[in-house]
């Protein structure tokens, strides 16, 4: 059976390349470059190798959180179950000097790190259209290509920096303005 393959001269890969370069802004680029890259390509089904990967995940996360604290931009905490398959914690966003805090959670999919984790803020489920069911945040068109191009180097810290960080920066001020979320004095400030 002879097969033909078709090529179009108009939409070459170059266009997508350019688009990617434009879409990652300078500050995100800087943040990204300060997070250690990971090297073990292993998912939660890969027993021993997964432990290596988890160590790298934690090392990258610790570094990222330390960087954030150092630059006065501390914005999340995460921890996992002992298998490292389920992650949970808090993230917060400062708006007009008030701190808005949310629970974060996600599972590590069996196809990780080929596919990124789907980060969720369950308490905002149903409050914004920029979410899928269960409060999973809706990522930009640029996240997935960028993630795919950086398998297995990107980890949870990168997903937070590229996915949740920008999402909060766009959505939270909007939700506050619309009155969908309001400041809760937790008495811990």
């Amino acid at each position: 059976m002879r097969q033909m393959r078709l090529f179009s001269s108009r939409d070459s890969g170059l266009v997508s390349e350019l688009r990617l370069v434009i879409m990652v802004d300078e500050s995100t680029r800087k943040t990204l470059s300060s997070i250690p890259l990971l090297s073990t390509k292993a998912g939660p089904r890969d027993k021993e190798l997964w432990v290596n990967r988890l160590k790298e995940e934690y090392q990258a996360l610790i570094k990222y959180v330390q960087n954030n604290k150092g630059s006065d931009n501390d914005w999340f905490r995460l921890e996992s179950n002992k298998e490292g398959t389920r992650w949970f914690g808090k993230c917060w966003y400062m708006h007009n000097l008030l701190k808005y805090e949310f629970d974060v959670e996600f599972d590590i999919p069996v196809t990780y790190p080929t596919t990124a984790p789907e980060i969720a803020l369950p308490e905002l489920d149903g409050k914004t259209a920029k979410m899928y069911r269960g409060g999973k945040i809706c990522l930009t068109d640029h996240f997935k290509p960028l993630w795919a191009r950086n398998v297995p180097k990107f980890g949870i810290a990168h997903a937070m920096a590229l996915g949740l960080g920008p999402w909060l920066a766009v959505e939270i001020p909007d939700l506050i303005e619309k009155g969908v979320i309001s400041y809760k004095d937790r008495g811990d400030e």
């Binding site: 059976m1 002879r2 097969q3 033909m4 393959r5 078709l6 090529f7 179009s8 001269s9 108009r10 939409d11 070459s12 890969g13 266009v15 997508s16 390349e17 990617l20 090297s39 073990t40 390509k41 939660p44 089904r45 021993e48 190798l49 290596n52 988890l54 160590k55 934690y58 090392q59 610790i62 959180v65 604290k69 905490r77 995460l78 921890e79 002992k82 490292g84 398959t85 599972d107 590590i108 999919p109 069996v110 196809t111 080929t114 596919t115 990124a116 789907e118 259209a129 920029k130 979410m131 899928y132 069911r133 809706c138 930009t140 068109d141 997935k144 290509p145 795919a148 191009r149 398998v151």
Partner: protein, 392 residues
Amino acid sequence: MDTTEKLKSRIAELEIELANEKSKNAAPVRQKIAQMSSEVVDSNPYSRLMALKRMGIVDNYEKIRELTVAVVGVGGVGSVTAEMLTRCGIGKLVLFDYDKVELANMNRLFFQPHQAGLSKVDAAAKTLQAINPDVEIETHNYNITTVDNFQHFMDTISKSSLKKGAVDLVLSCVDNFEARMAINTACNELNQKWFESGVSENAVSGHIQFIVPGESACFGCAPPLVVAANIDEKTLKRDGVCAASLPTTMGIVAGFLVQNTLKYLLNFGDTSFYLGYNAMLDFFPTMTLRPNPNCDDRYCRQRQQEYQAKPKDITVAKEEIDDTPLHEDNEWGISLIDETVPDIEDTSATVSSGVRQAYTLPARPADPEPEIVSTETSGPSLEELMAQMKSI
């Protein structure tokens, strides 16, 4: 005791009312039918299907009663897919979904407002069973992508047919990349044939893809394909919404999916390996996708080797069809490259007219396999790292 009497009569009234309501809900139930008959009588739900046999389209339509299909994702595409297969008299359906029916789903087909709040698999099973009690329906209400559920998903796929073996076909009707990759992983490992299906987030394009591990490209062989919607990206507003959906596009994709499922299972016509749909232009690209020898999935590469070792049967008819150019109009500025010339490294994101890869990937080493990572026994242990993270 006037009040007691009053209450008694009120109870009697209510009992009658309740009985009336109950009788309204009790829809006529049709009895199970042991054998598909081609007799044309108004009580035979299979007469028009069995007519396919009389007309010479399908050799043995009754075979459908022995077949099992798994439908993963019972949303806009999956529910309609399951209904079509049920009406066709499929032997058994295995349904997977972890979502609930919501009023926000009512722009799609199949589910009804009174089912809001029910799990999609349970609500679907009930409706399908009422439509055709001959179909055996098994449901699983969980997310297949988590570690805990994935093994159960694999076991179910490999043991749930009517003969307690692997299902005859898996149909992916999920709405996200993670779940598609999970199905891909499972099917490559199990050497399970499956169809991928999808509708774009802007609701105006869709596709189906037939994946025969080792023979055709798996879902992980290349970045996902997208049918160009011919919409200027700058005018496509995504602010404020994740995804749009239309019952029309979903119904069309479900129709394509089940049509090709039937063709494959009942052995008639040609099964499309890839069939796209561009709603803006009513354009339907088809093509065959060959597997990537450097696919990231090692089971995909193993299946490719197994397939190459197998003797091929080439039909003459196929060759004739393939020699005709696929597109008469050269609207997209296409140049044909004959595959018989030595393979050129494909760096183009465009796969075929009107279809392109969602993104491009950097060139990978020929064999991405053994990435021997030094087990860092010197550094801190995982427990220490977890504790450190907690204490920041």
